[in-house]
Amino acid sequence: MPNRLIGTLLPSRAVLLGFLKDSVDEVFSTMVATVAQLVDCDLDGAGHRELSAGVALEAVVEFEGDHAGAVVLACNRDGAEEIARGMLLSGVDEELSPEEVRDALGECANMVCGTLKNRALDGLGDFRLCPPRFVQEGEVQRLQRCGSLVYRLCNGAVSIEVWLFETAAPKAQDLEDLLCRSLGLVGEFDRLRRGGQQGGDLDGVLGELRGELREAARQLHLAELEELAAALEQTAAGQQGWDQLQETLQRSMDLLHAPLEAIPSPGTAGDGKRIFRVLIDLEEDYELQGRSTLDLPGDVACAGEMLDGLVLPETGSLDPVGQPEAGKMVAIVLSSDLDAAGIAATLGVPMGRVHALARDEIEALS
């Protein structure tokens, strides 16, 4: 498998597998009266294919939304029956129909997937669960397995795996294109504004700019950039006063200068600032190789650690570079916009080192 991130927002495979284990533990300790001992934990390996007695039943619960994937629960015959008995609290002499076993297994997979979604995904976007279904071996090949846990039960075994659809992360080039469009819109906005234009065209450009920035912020998970873009639009449209925009900016600046530990966890409004802090800390080391391409040799792992779960880069992946790079570019877009519109001077708020590179400086470097 190529060593790349599956999505910019998802935790790394190792972190996801940790969430899966916690989810399985919670479901088994509360809803399944049996003893399950973890005997194997694998990020890429053969997983349930190694179940000695062979897979008899494979329940899949898919999730859809900002990312798509599935939890796959594969059992040998004894394992499936044991889980069903554990859930239905039925005795060993009590006969269970195949439908009862399938239903219990599907419900177990449903709860594991739901718990995983709650623990690992809901903070990152909008996700929905699909009803449990049963598959033939090999049917889930279009998914990429991210990790598997194998449990030994009293009489059988179960493998519980998390899979992800192979959706490509936003490419650096895509983000660059998007941000270039934003830059173009900023220029257009500024030209119209300086020409004394009001209403129609100006509003249209501003709306389009807002849309572009929102899309960038959505892809980058930068909540406060979204907030800033919205605040900028509201201020320019006269829907809020300068003091409110100043307050928004000041709040952002406070976060920017706060110690990294004081910045809220990933998935909250502090995400962008975490990225910016990484950029600030790495600022002296990076090397510009193009108009908007940053090369952070040796610092990618450091950035990943500092991002603490938001993005855990894997060696050789370009995406961890692309994300802070794009975050930087969004900051530049906003900075340029505020400056061009004369807003920064009016506010008197220092924009900080995040905005140290202006557009012309980047162009000069390229």
Binding site: E26, T30, D103, M111, T115, P131
Partner: protein, 136 residues
């Protein structure tokens, strides 16, 4: 206890998974309820209209034919069902989903998987069970 002649409280368990129906049935019966089951919202809706009113409906969210929220919205549109306490039992625990369920008219929300005492606590909150095991 107010007296031996008092009828036990009635619960309707609505879930398309027979496993969950069995689990929930066992849980509420252990708290003194007598229970009926329905396999989806449509079946539950028929039972609500035709049978005696339950005190409590435990309803799954995602079901074929008529889902839990549709059932809740339908029930809340009929004043006769006002006394019925509606509890959504689901793995959907995102805040937006909880808000959606409560907005539709659910009285409470039970997240799966749940600890043994979680259902009892919800029923206490709804005034359907007292910690002493008696009716409030």
């Amino acid at each position: 206890m107010s007296g031996g002649a008092e009828q036990p409280r009635r619960a309707l368990v609505v879930d398309d998974s027979r496993t969950m129906r069995a689990l929930l049935r066992a849980s509420v019966e252990a708290l003194g309820f007598c229970t009926e089951e329905a396999r989806d919202g449509a079946e539950a809706w028929s039972q609500l209209q035709e049978g005696p009113l339950p005190d409590l409906v435990l309803v799954d969210w995602h079901m074929p034919r008529m889902d839990g929220l549709q059932l809740i919205a339908a029930a809340r549109a009929v004043p006769r069902f006002d006394p019925v306490r509606l509890v959504v039992v689901t793995v959907e625990t995102a805040m937006a989903r909880i808000a959606e369920a409560l907005e539709a008219g659910a009285d409470e929300y039970l997240m799966k998987p749940f600890e043994e005492g979680a259902l009892r606590d919800k029923l206490v909150q709804l005034g359907l069970y007292s910690t002493a095991g008696d009716r409030p």
